[in-house]
Each structure stands twice: as C-alpha cells, then as structure tokens.
C-alpha cells in the first residue's frame, strides 16, 4: 500500500505557480513570500507511510430481521501504530437505508488505540444482504497524500418479509389425516358434537347421550366431528413483477405469502410453497417452526428470473402438490403462463384460491400524473377485471387485493365468495 498524491497537492502547486507568475509580472516580492508557506508545506510530501498494523471488526445488532426493522452496525478499528487520519466507507446495498449515523467515518488513532463507529440502518426489502467490504483510505495530516485499501469483513443480514396481520384465513374444503384445528365432516374423536346413533358394543360410556337414551328407553351415543388439519400449498408467481422496489407486486406477494405461512402453520396445517418462474421451485408441505424457517428462507430467494422454460403443473410431484390440498395462488396475473397453470390446476380439481395483488396502485406512483396515465390505468383495470371474470367462469375464486389496503380486508371478501361457489 503506497501513498499517492491527492488532488490537493496539485491544487497547491497550481496556486504556487500562479503566485510566482504574478510576483514576477508585478515585480513584487510579497507574492513570492505568500506562496512560500505552500512550498514549505509541499516538503511534507513523502514523509508519511501508510500504517500497516491496524484491523477492523464488525458486529451487527441482529443478523435475522424483518422488513422495516432496524439494525445497528458497529465497526471497531484497532491500531498497533499511529494512524494520522483514517477514512472508512461502507457502501450500503439498495435494500438498506441509513437511518442514523453515517456510513463514512474519519478517525485518528494513537498506537494501541481503538475506536468504535456505529450507524443504524433500516431494512427496506427482503433478501440476503451482504455487508461485505469496508473501503479504507489513509491520509496524511495535510491531505496531500493518501493510500487506499479494501477490507472484506464477514457480515450477512437476512431480511425476512414483513408479516402482515391476519386473523381469518381461507378455509380448506378438504382435510387431511392429522389432528388440526378444522372440524372435518367425518365423525370420530373430537369435541364438536355431530350425529347421534344407537349404542354399539365397544362404544365408550362417556359418549352415551343420556337425554336421548332416557327419551327412547334405549342407549344412544353422541358422535363427534374429527378435528383435522389441511394441506395448504402456496403458489407464488415469480414470472414477472411491476412497480418499483421495495413495493413491487412480487414484494407484496411475498409479504402475503409470509402472512399466510405464519397463519396456516399456526393452525397446525402442513404448508408447502411452489415458486413458478417458468420452471418450478418448491418446498414440500410440512408443519412446525423449523418448516416455517425453511419456507421463509425460500421466500428470501424468491425473485423474478427470466426463463424460456414453461413447465406444466402435471410435472409437480404429488408429494409437493397433494390432491386434497388447498392451493392459494398469489399472482398479479400479468403473465398468461401463470393463468394457464391456474386453469390447469382448476381442471385437475384442486381447491384453488387466487390472491391477486393489483399492480395498478404500485405502478401509478412511478409514472408522472397525467390524463393519459389515468386513462391507461382505467383501461388496465378493465382488462384485469375481464381476465378475472374469465378465470371466474373457469371455476377459480379470485380475490383482488390493493397492496396499500390490509390483506385481511381483501381475504374477508373471499369467505362469502367461496360459500356461494360451494353452494353451486
């Protein structure tokens, strides 16, 4: 690491030259004396060596956070020798926003000295964020010379999608074999009373319905509905996105998926995830906290990836897309390939719900307000409605969701819609 001249040194030389020229032209000795301190100052060039024995360490207040949360970054600089002036700069990726402090710092260090530098960032978008390299520049005291180096420090931040509040979730029509929170139509062990039938050998005495038995003078037992769980598969459309980060349709979809994952896993359901980006990427349905972590990790990776490959839904294995599963497809319905996949799923008899984050309110702020823009958005909304109607005719329930509105309000429309469809 060698010290090099800075633009300031050239500025000093320029001023010296002008001073001498003016002095010679005017024949005044004062101008030569004026530039004399500058000439003496240049004598300092070459006297400072770049310090070699210094080190950096970085610590993050949290390594796993949700979108919108803040993280404090602490960088500790330790030097074994004197460091006259050290400038550190840590470039921030676009997914992080500086909230307090500065991501550039200037220090002076005595031999054996140590100093800590802190700043706070807000995580604006999900993803794995690498805070990798710290750029360092050593200056001499005058600023006439500098040397540069980069230090790579370990430090990765996992920013998970912000969970949206959900109290009511779309209920599945079909249950699975494991114990859960849904009242199944089948009778067996449970707490929800179902049918009454005559006592048979092997029935438990505590299931005897005494009121009915006394009335009919024969023993009757109460049967209970089983409480079962369900398989829920979330299908995420990553074929395309609209809007500006961190408020694209994919960001909204991922947040909705995170909320649904949290909600369904909280109900002991098995939840799977299929990412449709032309080819499929999936996480098999399962339950539990560890599985939630797995799904959230998959959501971190979810991104639009251009591909010419378009796989059919039939290629997804049964263990990933169980036939009895409730499929919640989350898509802005911008790509016809995803609509084709939805029609295919509906034709295969899957219990299918489509949650469609509308791209219009997300794209609107990114374009200049104009009458033409208004008209285009209205036409776009009509086109979306026509598409939704076409899917509705194919037997698919669609929920249109404005990402600026709460997800819960959008899903509230779903319950009556599904009830009407079930009645038909």
């Amino acid at each position: 690491m060698t010290m090099r001249l800075t633009p300031l040194a050239l500025s000093v030389v320029t001023v010296v030259a002008w001073g001498l020229i003016l002095g010679v032209l005017s024949g005044r000795a004062e101008l030569v004396i004026v530039v004399l301190p500058l000439l003496l100052g240049l004598a300092r060039v070459g006297r400072t060596d770049a310090p070699r024995r210094w080190s950096l360490a970085r610590a993050l207040s949290a390594e796993r956070v949700f979108e919108g949360e803040r993280v404090t970054v602490s960088v500790t600089v330790t030097a074994d020798e004197r460091v006259p002036l050290l400038e550190l700069f840590e470039p921030l990726p676009p997914t992080l926003r500086l909230v307090s402090g500065e991501n550039r710092a200037l220090f002076t260090l005595a031999p054996g000295g140590s100093v800590e530098w802190r700043y706070e960032v807000e995580c604006v978008r999900r993803g794995r964020v690498g805070l990798g390299t710290v750029h360092a520049r050593h200056w001499d005291r005058a600023g006439l010379e500098a040397s540069e180096t980069s230090v790579t420090l370990p430090g990765q931040l996992r920013v998970y999608p912000r969970p949206l509040r959900l109290r009511r979730l779309p209920g599945p029509r079909r249950m699975q074999a494991f114990v859960g929170n849904y009242v199944a139509p089948s009778v067996g062990e449970g707490i929800e009373p179902g049918d009454i039938r005559e006592f048979a050998a092997g029935d438990r005495v505590r299931h005897v319905n005494w009121r009915a038995s006394l009335r009919f003078r024969r023993l009757f037992v109460t049967q209970y509905h089983q409480e079962r769980n369900a398989d829920v598969v979330l299908m995420l459309d990553t074929l395309t996105e609209a809007g500006a980060a961190p408020a694209t349709t994919l960001d909204a979809s991922v947040r909705a998926a995170a909320a649904l994952i949290t909600g369904y896993l909280g109900r002991k359901d098995r939840v799977g995830l299929i990412e449709y980006c032309g080819p499929f990427r999936w996480v098999r349905p399962s339950s539990g906290r560890a599985h939630q972590e797995r799904l959230f990790e998959a959501l971190l990776r979810a991104d639009v990836m251009f591909s010419y490959v378009t796989q059919e839904v039939g290629l997804v294995p049964r263990r990933v897309l169980p036939p009895q599963a409730l499929v919640v497809a989350i898509s802005p319905l911008l790509d016809p390939r995803f609509e084709k996949a939805l029609v295919d799923l509906a034709a295969r008899g899957f219990d299918l719900v489509v949650l469609s984050p509308s791209p219009i309110p997300l794209v609107r702020p990114t374009v200049r307000p104009s009458a033409r823009g208004d008209l285009a958005c209205r036409l776009w909304a009509l086109e979306r409605r026509a598409r939704a109607d076409a899917l509705l005719r194919a037997g698919i329930t669609i929920v249109d969701w404005d990402p600026a509105e709460p997800l819960e309000a959008a899903l509230a429309q779903l319950t009556p819609a599904r009830r009407r469809r079930a009645a038909r």
Binding site: T2, M3, R4, L5, T6, P7, L8, A9, S11, V12, V13, T14, V15, V16, A17, W18, L20, I21, L22, G23, V24, L25, S26, G27, R28, A29, E30, L31, V32, I33, V34, V35, L36, P37, L38, L39, L40, G41, L42, V45, G46, L85, E87, G101, E102, R104, A105, L106, F107, T108, V115, W117, Y119, R137, W139, R141, A142, G143, E145, E148
Partner: protein, 169 residues
Amino acid sequence: MRRLAALLALVLVGAPLLIAPSTAVAALGTAAMLLCGLGIVVATPVLVAGIVLALGEYTLALWLAGGPPNLGSAALLGIVLVVLLETADFGRRAHRAAIGPGLLLAQLRAWTVFAGVTGTGALAVSAAASVASATIRLPWAPAIAAVGAAVTLVGVALALSGRQAPPRD
C-alpha cells in the same frame, strides 16, 4: 470546518482591501469570495480558482498602493492561504462523515504547529532576502526572478512526479 475555511477566505479576500481600498480591488475581491465560498462547498478546483483571483486582487492592491514591500503581512497571508486550502479540503472530506474522538483537536493542533513553523520559516527567508537585497545589487533582477520562479516550479514538479498519480475522488 467549513466555517473556519470561510473565515480564512474572508481574511484572504479582505486583506488587499486594507492595502488599497478601491472599487477594482473590491470587485475582484467579491468575485474571489464568491468562488472561494462555492469552492469550499463544492470542489477544491473552484476554490483554487477563487484563491488565484484573490492573489490577482492582492497584486492589484500592491500595485495601486505602491510603497516598500511588507513581507511580514505577506507571510501571514501565505499561512492563511495554506491553512485555507487544507481546512477546505478536510471540511469536504469530513462532510457527512462520522468524526472520531479527538480528530478535530488533532487536526487543529497539526495546523497550528504547521502555521507556526512555516510562518517562522517564511519570515526567516524574507528577512534573509531583505538583508541580501540591501547588500547585493543584481543586474537584470526581473530576469533572474523569472528564471528562479521557473526553476522552482520545475523542481517542485520533478519532486512530485516521483510520486504516483493522484487517486480519483
């Protein structure tokens, strides 16, 4: 730090007005001050342009005032000039950066020591030059001064060219 630089620029631009308070000097001084102010905020090359203009203003003031050379005040102005350049550059570097403990104090101490040393040096050189000019009368003095200036500049350029090219900001 930018305030200190602005104050030094004001001293640099205001000093010639004390020597020869005229409209031409004031006009040049205003232009120089504007450029210096802009340079302190924006970039060092603009500041250099302002300083060069301030040197022009100083030359004009000396020419208008005439009289014997005042080398002491010239040495002080030189110190103001060098500290102005360094403080403005440091201010630009420190702008929107976290400043470590004791850094400003260390910088001020370094500039004070440097100003003291260079001031003493400049005064010593000017005193020596005064004594020499009183005892030795050189023929073709302007030509010798021009050659001396050229030699100095070439010497500085040669000394600095040994170093590598400056990094880009």
